[in-house]
């Protein structure tokens, strides 16, 4: 039971717990908080995988900006307790276990299949060193320059769209 394995299981259990809480919670604000818990535990897993810059970006952008936006909208709209669905109870009692077994089966076949074996036998556990930010930024600004510029235009369009939608509400 080495330390990376313990940390992986702790963060993995926390992430799955957060996802289950997101489904089970009755108020949207509790769902938002459990999603933040998932994101922070995923950031720790990224650190374990050596991607330290991505872990920091995950917390700064995802947990610290996108989820703040979600929390603001929940507070502004005063979203209260969720109503009961009008659909049949069969959907809940049969659907959730079936969905769960589906994903367990996908995970099982992922584990057993050729892809999993090749990865596990190949270079699965080598390279404990972290990826330096300098290498990542070299890739980003040299090989992926066009997607980078296109994404910045995408963000500009998103800002314009959000401003137009907000103004029309008045």
């Amino acid at each position: 039971m080495s330390l990376p394995l313990i940390v992986f299981f702790a963060c993995g259990v926390t992430a799955v717990l957060g996802a289950v809480l997101l489904i089970v919670a009755r108020e949207p604000i509790h769902s938002a908080l459990s999603l933040i818990l998932v994101m922070v535990s995923l950031a720790v897993l990224y650190l374990l995988l050596g991607a330290e810059f991505i872990a920091a970006v995950q917390i700064i952008v995802y947990a610290g900006a996108i989820m703040v936006l979600f929390v603001f909208v929940i507070m502004l709209l005063n979203a209260g307790v969720e109503e009961r669905t009008n659909l049949s109870k069969m959907a809940k009692y049969a659907g959730v276990p079936l969905g769960f077994f589906l994903l367990l089966e996908i995970a099982h076949w992922f584990w057993r299949s050729a892809v999993g074996a090749r990865i596990a036998n190949g270079s699965g556990t080598v390279n404990a060193s972290a990826v330096s930010t300098r290498d990542l930024s070299m890739q980003l600004f040299q090989q992926y320059l066009f997607p980078f510029e296109a994404t910045s235009i995408l963000i500009l369009i998103a800002i314009l769209g959000a401003v137009v939608l907000a103004k029309r509400g008045e």
């Binding site: 604000i29 330290e52 920091a56 917390i59 700064i60 610290g64 703040v68 603001f72």
Partner: protein, 396 residues
Amino acid sequence: MDFIAQHAVLVVSLVKIVILLLVVMTALAYLTWFERKVVAHIQSRWGPYYVGAHGLLQPLADGMKFLFKEDVTPPASDRLLYVLAPFLAFSLALTTLALIPFGPPTIQILGQPVFVIANSNIGLLFLFAITSIGVYGVALAGWSSNSKYPLLGGLRSSAQMVSYEVSLTLSVVGVLLLANSFSFNGIIESQSPNIGHWHVWKQIVGFLCYITAAIAETNRVPFDLPEAETELVAGFHTEYSSFKFAMFFMAEYANMITVSCLATILFFGGWLSPFPESWTWQLYLPGVGLLLIALYCAYDTIAHMRGIARIQLAVVALLALIAGASCLIPAVMPVIQGPFWFITKVGLFLFLYVWIRGTLPRFRYDQLMSFGWKLLLPVSLVNLLVTALLIVVVKR
């Protein structure tokens, strides 16, 4: 002893954490005393004077008051979030202090650096990550109190924090370009050997943007409209009392300390001394400074104080004397240099914070937001562009 040698990282880290917690809690308490004294003197009055000599026991009295006050919880509040918010704010404010180096990493015990708890090579990025989660403490406090003023104050305060966070991180990128590293030690190393190489001279615009954004980020005057008494009762911590309110209070001061530490590391050379290494008389400065404080306290004891205040001040003078004498021991002298300069610079920044609080009036909320987005953000961006261009041109 064998256990300690095998698990040196764990044991040394635990000891460092305990010491840092004790020092930071004391510093927080006496920062409130310092602020009240300085603001009082700016306003031509004395400040705390009666509780202990020169009001030095005032933080103790305040702490006991907070502990013994009645804890009132609003009835319709969301219990989990109501209790979570102050704990979140306070623990995040203290976590950032684990990343900050108080002295050079070459001074080690059992192979572990003494003056920094978490020596990470993307320390700066992690510090910003932790600060960006601090927004939730404020927002959840406002929401969970289930009342008008806290909700408005919480929303305004968190919107302000999110807006100024962008300018804060952008104003720092110029320093990163100059230092070529994300780690605090790398940034400090690029500012050696003396005052001429500090980043503040090359990045003066960045420094001013950083200070403005930092004051807004920590919700201090002149950007503290969401929690000002004359505006929204008390903003997001209206419905909090006793210990939970004390936690918000301490979280705000801890954020102030973190931001000041960051300013010294990024722009003023961190634990480096401003004088060149060859001036060996600077090794005596910590001891001499403490002995001067001891002398002043002793003079005050004899000349002005009466009764129990006399005994208290005599104790303070004695402690300063012991500290000053121990700083003059030859084995301790080179070790204490780093922390001494760091603490001096952080103290000067905290004095700047309190000075600004005592002198400037408040911004209105819409003025605050338009200042952040329409003035500070473009200035930070232009600073970044100009810095990058100059670096490319100079390197050719």
